[in-house]
């Protein structure tokens, strides 16, 4: 699956799509692939404060729980209600309908620390090599 070039990506495999100080956050196709069939998603309530690099949600497959870390700091304004009934949306459309939360950025500058699509794809290529090695 292609990695949108207008997104930024974290080493923990979250993506963030920022427009001004409003941003949407989700997990990457690579992440959902590693995780397998998603069965449950735990998201923060609107108003929750997020700190870059700190856990803010968890995504569960049948046999694993993965913590999701905030790619940037800010305040959650909305969480994806769709995921409660159909968590598989994360598997089917990780970069689109499978988004996790909307976020009001407190420091847009943090985004500069993240990878762009090209850098991220190189990054996961490395990961795959390690895995196969």
């Amino acid at each position: 699956m292609a990695y949108p070039t207008n997104y930024k990506y974290s080493k923990d495999h979250e993506w963030i799509d920022a427009k001004g100080d409003m941003a949407t956050v989700g997990i990457t196709d690579y992440a959902q692939h590693e995780l397998g069939d998603v069965v449950f998603v735990e998201l923060p309530a609107a108003g929750t404060k997020l700190t870059a690099g700190k856990q803010f949600a968890s995504v569960e497959s049948v046999k694993a729980v993965s913590e999701i870390y905030a790619p940037a700091s800010g305040e959650a304004t909305e969480s994806n209600a769709l995921l409660q009934a159909t968590p598989e949306t994360i598997n089917n459309d990780p970069h689109g309908a499978g988004w996790l939360i909307k976020l009001k950025l407190s420091n847009a500058a943090e985004l500069d620390a993240l990878m762009d699509a090209a850098a991220y794809e190189k990054y996961i290529e490395e990961k795959k090599k390690e895995a196969s090695a």
Binding site: V62, K63, A64, V65
Partner: protein, 446 residues
């Protein structure tokens, strides 16, 4: 040794196969000086017959031949031969936790049926596959409430089984949970004034038991309302499950912690029993313990699996909802078979027999001068009476009559040294009750 399926020749053969001369070689990774040189100092090996003999002799040193009026959390009810016949099937007895669903459908379906029965009994929406016992189930229920509310104060009624409260304190000590207790009224029910005094917005759960330790049935509706008014959850403990055959289920409670010993499990000097945690669907992700779920296989056939395992220790490790890895599957199976045998009518009749016998017993005791009912609240098969003198002295006299007297409330309630908790079940005969009354009369006269 009769349990070991190898001949000396076979042992030699296997040894040479692994390339060792002596068995000792296989233990070389244990530093020589730490290997035992002499045999363990244990009693000499016993034949099957001798083993039976040893335990038969111990059995004779117990209460065989005595009539008991003890309950207080462990109840002597009728147990069917059928239940034990099923329990002793090797396929149930010698099977492991059903991780390999394809070859443990028997255990899994039985657990699923257990969960269903527990929901029907307690009026809750979801029940787990069982835990150690009523005391740990109550504790786990509180920890669950703590997780759900994120609060650290829990209010427990003093009329909850004393050992349940002690276990809760042991667990609470290090999880930063603060346990406070509140008292009871002359009716024997929880003191709602005292409760509302303590109830603030930092409370995670209010814990009550019904029928409570004094045998009195609590009214849960209002308790739930006041708890909810402060964003707290109501945890209802049930020590005597049979009561649910005649008493309204604790549906108002948010979490129910039940002891299932009354359903086909022998008193067995304190265990093993089976605890249950039942609750609402919306809380299921925070439930402790195993859960069996219905699903389908590749060919669309109904089957069962352990599910929502991500709550458990073997996956969550330090983030698990509980450190318990097992349920009490075999005890839960006993309860499942027993309740299936009882059925809807059977359980109702059983419960009503308990009520009738308890009422008769209270009547007989109240005829005795100086003996009076201690609490006015409605009760099931246990009730509290007050003697004109210490219960210990009365019980000592009763022992002469080969009667094990009622539970001495004074042991855990200093203010109740003259109060006795009498338990009567369908197994107690009219003749035994009359002997108790006669014995008490004699003891008080003395």
């Amino acid at each position: 040794m009769r349990y070991l399926p190898k001949s000396p020749a076979e042992r030699q053969e296997m040894l040479s196969a692994v390339g060792a001369k002596t068995i000792e070689e296989l233990f070389h990774s244990i530093p020589e000086k730490y290997r035992l040189k002499k045999p363990l100092n244990l009693p000499a090996a016993m034949s099957e017959h001798e083993v039976v003999q040893y335990f038969s002799e111990r059995a004779k040193e117990n209460s065989d031949g005595y009539t008991s009026f003890l309950g207080a959390g462990v109840y002597n009810h009728l147990r069917s031969v059928i239940t034990d016949t099923i329990l002793q099937r090797g396929e149930f007895l010698t099977s492991y936790t059903p991780y390999q669903a394809e070859i443990t459908q028997g255990t899994l379906q039985a657990i699923f049926e257990f969960q269903t029965l527990m929901c029907q009994l307690t009026g809750q929406e979801v029940a787990n596959a069982s835990m150690y016992d009523g005391s740990t189930a109550t504790t786990e229920a509180v920890l669950m409430a703590e997780r759900l509310t994120g609060r650290g104060r829990v209010l427990v009624a003093r009329s909850v089984q004393p050992e349940y409260r002690e276990v809760l304190r042991t667990y609470a000590k290090n999880s930063g949970l603060h346990v406070e207790e509140f008292g009871y009224t002359p009716a024997g029910t929880v003191d709602t004034k005292a409760l509302s005094g303590l109830l603030k917005d930092d409370v995670c759960a209010v814990v009550v038991q019904s029928p409570n330790f004094f045998g009195v049935i609590e009214t849960l509706g209002p308790l739930a309302e006041s708890a909810h008014a402060h964003g707290a959850l109501l945890v209802a403990a049930i020590a005597e499950g049979v009561s649910l055959g005649a008493v309204k289920p604790p549906s108002e409670a948010d979490i129910v912690a039940m002891e299932a010993q009354s359903f086909g499990l022998a008193p067995s000097y304190g265990g093993p029993y089976a605890g249950v945690v039942a609750s609402k669907d919306r809380f299921v992700r925070q439930m402790p313990g195993r859960l069996a779920g219905q699903t389908v296989d590749q060919e669309g056939r109904r089957g069962f699996v352990l599910t929502l395992a991500t709550r458990e220790q073997h996956i969550r490790r330090e983030k698990a909802t509980s450190n318990i890895c097992t349920n009490q599957a075999l005890c839960a199976l006993a309860a499942t078979v027993h309740l299936t045998l009882l059925g809807k009518e059977g359980l109702r009749e059983m419960a009503e027999q308990n009520i009738a016998k308890a009422q008769f017993a209270l009547g007989e005791l109240e005829k005795i001068p100086g003996v009076k009912r201690a609490f006015s609240g409605p009760f099931f098969n246990e009730f509290t009476v007050e003697f004109p003198k210490s219960v210990r002295l009365v019980n000592a006299e009763l022992l002469q009559e080969k009667i094990i007297g009622p539970f001495v409330l004074g042991t855990t309630y200093p203010e109740l040294t003259k109060n006795a908790l009498v338990c009567v079940t369908e197994t107690t005969t009219r003749e035994q009750i009359e002997r108790l009354a006669a014995g008490v009369r004699k003891a008080l006269a003395a």
